[in-house]
Symmetry: C2
Subunit: 216 residues, 2 copies
DNA sequence: GCGAAATGTTGACAGTGTCAACACAAAAAG
DNA sequence: CTTTTTGTGTTGACACTGTCAACATTTCGC
């Protein structure tokens, strides 16, 4: 059967369900996302989703994936519009990341919550991995021009990702509807740029942090 | 009436419920936390919790708070055992943070999930804020010895916190039961130490990241 | 056209959070 | 010491949820 362009009973319901779910989440939060409500909003009955998804969990994963796709698109346009050099690219990426989190709060949360729950399956790269690859390539670019310290690119990218992600979460928890103030972003970018700069040579691993005093 | 030491009908049930909840979460995950189950585990009936908590949400907040208390204790002992200087203190803090997240996965997750949901009330500092204050004081110490760039201490602490938190989350998502490998921790600490070091002077805020190319 | 598969609907069930009504113990009031 | 009031735990009930089996309808392969 052809899946392309509105056909069959309802049309391509799967996509509609995902989009409807996203809308519900953004409007009333994840807690309000119920299969019944999705059905009503999509003009379809409660259990219709079970012909396209194995469970509610599965639907949430799909919603998460759709979120990541949007996220990656944002990332890509931001990359295209960013100033040429490495610092500009990294900065643009970071800003886009945090801004996305603040603009699409519920969506952002669901994205990572669902991604966390989905370990066993998921052989395909997935939109999330693709976005990460983008960051990795930026870092690699910096390494090639000598603006980033040499070493395991993936590890460095992980660190940078973690930093930006942590910032986003914190920002989400703190500022309610806040736009981003430039001073904050500047500081964040600087920490990154300096932190992974040439100066940060691996060097010998220092003595592991252990208890230096005796237990009483 | 006296609340101290096992008295009354059951003893001090409130504490028991929180601890039971923690156990259930650690054993079977957050999804398995049901008021009924807590009741059974605590030898009490399903709705007993409603004499001590307004709702399940409220109980979760209490569990989160208890988690933060444990977290802060870990932090404090780690501080006490850390080498004296600023780098050693910061490193110890970061390691303790990430290690806590990996050792108490479910607990850690619940801690921050519940903290996020609890905005309106919560006038008291809360264990989480206390832990943050500890980090802040470490940073301030670094600033006083000149090992950390001058500037808004709270902002810097936020950045550092976000970094460590992001790392923890990522580590949680990636490694299943993994212990921490020293190379990774070393890199993480270095990024922090160098990133917030003297070199990172605030300087003039650069032109905000904007679209540099025209739209086609 | 026809059987088979895909897709959507209804009824039902176990499990959940929550509340009102009740039962009892402990403290307070007399 | 008795009575009253408050704190604490239990039971019954309700609306709501995710999920499945059984049924209805549409589309596809032949």
């Amino acid at each position: 059967m052809t899946r392309s362009r509105a056909a069959y009973h309802h049309g391509n319901l799967r996509e509609v369900l995902v989009q409807t779910g996203l809308k519900v989440i953004e409007k009333h939060g994840v807690a309000a996302l119920t299969l019944r409500e999705i059905g009503v909003q999509a003009g379809v009955s409660r259990t219709a989703a079970y012909r396209h998804f194995a469970s509610k969990e599965d639907l949430l994963c799909a919603i998460s994936e759709a979120g990541f796709a949007l996220f990656r698109r944002d990332m890509e346009t931001s990359m295209a519009e960013a100033p040429a050099g490495f610092p500009g690219r990294l900065r643009a990426m970071a800003v886009t990341y945090v801004r996305f989190a603040l603009r699409h709060r519920a969506r952002f949360t669901v994205m990572f919550d669902a991604a966390r729950a989905r370990e066993p399956e998921c052989e395909t790269p997935g939109e999330g991995e693709l976005a990460f690859a983008q960051l990795e390539s930026v870092i690699r670019g910096g390494q090639e021009t000598g603006e980033v310290c040499a070493g395991d690119t993936k590890l460095l990218a992980e660190l940078v990702w973690a930093h930006i992600h942590g910032i986003s979460i914190l920002r989400l928890a703190v500022s309610q509807s806040g736009e981003l103030d430039e001073a904050f972003l500047h500081r964040m970018s600087n920490l990154l740029l300096v932190g992974i700069g040439r100066a940060n040579v691996p060097g010998p691993v220092p003595a592991p942090v252990q208890r230096k005093r005796k237990k009483p």
